[in-house]
């Protein structure tokens, strides 16, 4: 196992109370695997990954339990200095909005080269060549010119490619992509996702893809983890999730995707209710107030993680019995 997250819990101290953003979550990532983490805003998906990289701002955030093992070392116990050595080199992260994630005051060259200067002993010439090579392999046209430009001179898609290049410079073992396509047009989305797929296949880089869009997941991931209210609702392989759905929330997500085959005039099926107030969650099922199958038991104790087959697990007392063909996820 490349990465093992065990029983992670993260709390935030806010004016309205303590927010349990991540509540006893465990998962693992194998070498070369693409894991999709799906959930609404507030589900804890981003916080989990920021915790991984040690990027959570603490004061407000506190890690109240858990261990994160990478290379047999617990990341949560590493000093800032050691963590910094890992970041950008063994574990990289790309963020949602390429428009704000690049420093507008510095050239692309500076922002790329500094990764190599910090983590490797390449000479400037070698470093520049590496940058240009990566930009080229990611399909950036005329990489020399882009290299010398400022971020505002590039389009959104190009900026995101630069971000991806930045994260791949040192061939990290894990690439965490936090909603990499949310801020981009649909056509560019497809290109970026293809890029990521290529990276995974050519270099064997494991990818954690965070998204709220099941469609994105279907094309790219090997395994999926659905999060809700800071907890894991369900996780398993793509087939498990799409064809052997167990958790009502997962099914709700899939049913709410508009499909091309819907009859005109048919209504969309959103999940009723609104996302949970994270200060109010406790020893009960987080999804209970929106679930159509809810029973008393769900409101009085929190379901434990139950196995349903190799690698397929969920937290629910009354999972979906027979699997129903939910249909194609829109892409």
């Amino acid at each position: 196992m490349l990465l093992e997250v065990k029983d992670l819990s993260v709390e935030f101290a806010t004016d309205e109370g303590i927010v349990r953003a991540v509540d006893h979550v465990s998962f693992s990532l194998a070498e070369g695997e693409v894991l999709g983490i799906v959930g609404e805003s507030g589900s804890g998906k981003s916080v989990t990954n920021l915790a991984l990289m040690g990027l959570l701002p603490r004061p407000p955030a506190r890690i109240t339990s858990g261990e994160i093992f990478f290379n047999r070392r617990d990341l949560l116990k590493l000093s800032e200095k050691r963590l910094r050595a890992l970041r950008g080199k063994d574990i990289s992260m790309i963020f949602q909005d390429p428009f704000t994630s690049l420093n507008p005051y510095l050239k692309i060259s500076t922002q790329l080269m500094e990764v190599l200067q910090t983590h490797s002993s390449m000479t400037p010439t070698q470093a520049k060549k590496r940058c240009l090579d990566i930009l080229d392999s990611l399909g950036v046209p005329e990489p020399e010119i882009r290299f010398d430009s400022y971020p505002h001179q590039l389009s959104g898609g190009l900026k995101q490619r630069v971000m991806i290049a930045m994260s791949l410079l040192l061939e990290p073992k894990i690439l965490i992509a936090d909603e990499p396509t949310t801020a981009l047009d649909v056509t560019i989305q497809a290109q970026i996702l293809d890029l990521l797929k290529g990276v995974n296949q050519k270099h064997g880089t494991a990818i954690i893809l965070i998204t709220h869009d099941l469609g994105v997941v279907a094309g790219l991931c090997d395994r999926v983890q659905v999060m809700y209210g800071g907890r894991i609702a369900e996780r398993g392989s793509i087939d498990d999730i799409f064809y052997r759905t167990k958790h009502p929330y997962t099914r709700g997500l899939m049913e709410s995707i508009p499909s091309v085959d819907i009859e005109p005039g048919a209504r969309l099926k959103p999940i009723p209710g609104s996302p949970p107030d994270l200060t109010e969650l406790g020893a009960f099922c987080a999804f209970s107030d929106r679930c159509s199958k809810v029973q008393d038991k769900c409101r009085t104790s929190r379901p434990a993680l139950t196995e349903a087959g190799a690698g397929h697990a969920f937290e629910c007392y009354f999972p979906i019995g027979d699997s129903l063909e939910i249909g194609k996820a829109a892409s």
């Binding site: 990027l55 963590l83 970041r87 510095l106 400022y150 505002h152």
Partner: protein, 297 residues
């Protein structure tokens, strides 16, 4: 360029103000000694129509840099007087700029890096005071503390170099207050941006993040402020030269205003204005250097 337009406007306004001044050399009641009038008539061709006079005036200022004779000191030209005063005013202005940048930037930096802790609260409280205190009040407070009670520094005159400390400090402190608030605000804003998070995710050291990634953007508000700040420091030098008895341009301006030496007044106004315009241009250039998104003709 806009700056040239402004220059023209200034010169024109000054010209017409001078002509309208009652009791001035251009009004009917000429109360000036004969030699002064002789000078003026020679220079300003008072017998020619107004438009021609204006043209001559413009030409003389722009091409020959001749600001005319002083109406008070009959035998001395405004150019002479301005030259003598300029050196002093420049020293005071630059000294004030130096102090204000030094104190302001350091205070702002400290405050931003220690957000909401004691090193943030103290400088910001001081800066609140600094913004409200009028320059002459601050000057007298400093005089009373350092000049009278402690007797460390001379209270007036700039024969010794120490004489410059109190005046520059007075002006510097006031502008340092604004500069420190702007620096703090600018830096805090940058530090909260997404690209700082990216920089951290790349494993960069906090030193690099501060000096390379944050400073350029963080200083932009300060740079914008420097335009009006420098103008203010020159205006403020009027008070400071007045209190500390420094024979600079500011002193000439005030005295000439009170004594109705119009040519000298105008000369001072024009020189000050040109200085401020040049410095504003420099500020614009620096801003353009810092922010690559700004493009120039």
């Amino acid at each position: 360029m806009a700056a040239l337009v402004t220059l023209f406007v200034i010169i024109t306004i000054s010209f017409f103000m001078m002509r309208l001044a009652p009791g001035g050399p251009f009004s009917k009641d000429r109360a000036y000694p004969a030699e002064v009038m002789k000078n003026i008539e020679a220079k300003y061709h008072l017998d020619k129509p107004v438009v021609v006079q204006y043209g001559i005036y413009l030409k003389r200022i722009l091409f020959e840099f001749d600001l005319g004779p002083s109406t008070r000191y009959g035998d001395r030209s405004v150019n002479e007087l301005v030259k003598s005063g300029f050196a002093f005013s420049l020293k005071v202005g630059l000294g004030a700029l130096f102090f204000s940048l030094l104190m302001g930037l350091v205070a702002g930096l400290l405050a931003a890096l220690n957000h909401n802790k004691i090193l943030d609260v103290i400088p910001m409280s001081f800066s609140m005071v600094g913004i409200s205190v009028p320059d002459f009040v601050l000057a007298y407070i400093l005089i009373l503390i350092f000049g009278v009670t402690l007797s460390w520094l001379p209270v007036a005159g700039v024969d010794q170099i120490q004489g410059y400390i109190l005046p520059c400090l007075t002006l510097g402190l006031i502008y340092a207050s604004s500069i420190s608030r702007l620096t703090r605000g600018g830096l805090l804003e940058i530090l909260g941006q997404d690209f700082i998070r990216t920089a951290k995710a790349k494993g960069l050291s906090s030193r690099r993040i501060l000096w390379v990634h944050s400073l350029k953007g963080g200083l932009l508000p300060v740079v914008s402020y420097l335009g009006p700040a420098v103008a203010g420091m020159f205006t403020g030098s009027l008070v400071v030269e007045n209190i500390f008895q420094i024979p600079g341009l500011g002193r000439f301006l005030i005295d000439s205003a009170i004594n109705r030496d119009y040519t000298l007044s105008m000369g001072c106004v024009i020189v000050f204005a040109v200085l401020i315009l040049i410095l504003n241009l420099v500020v614009d250039l620096v801003y353009g250097l810092l922010d690559p998104r700004v493009s120039y003709e």
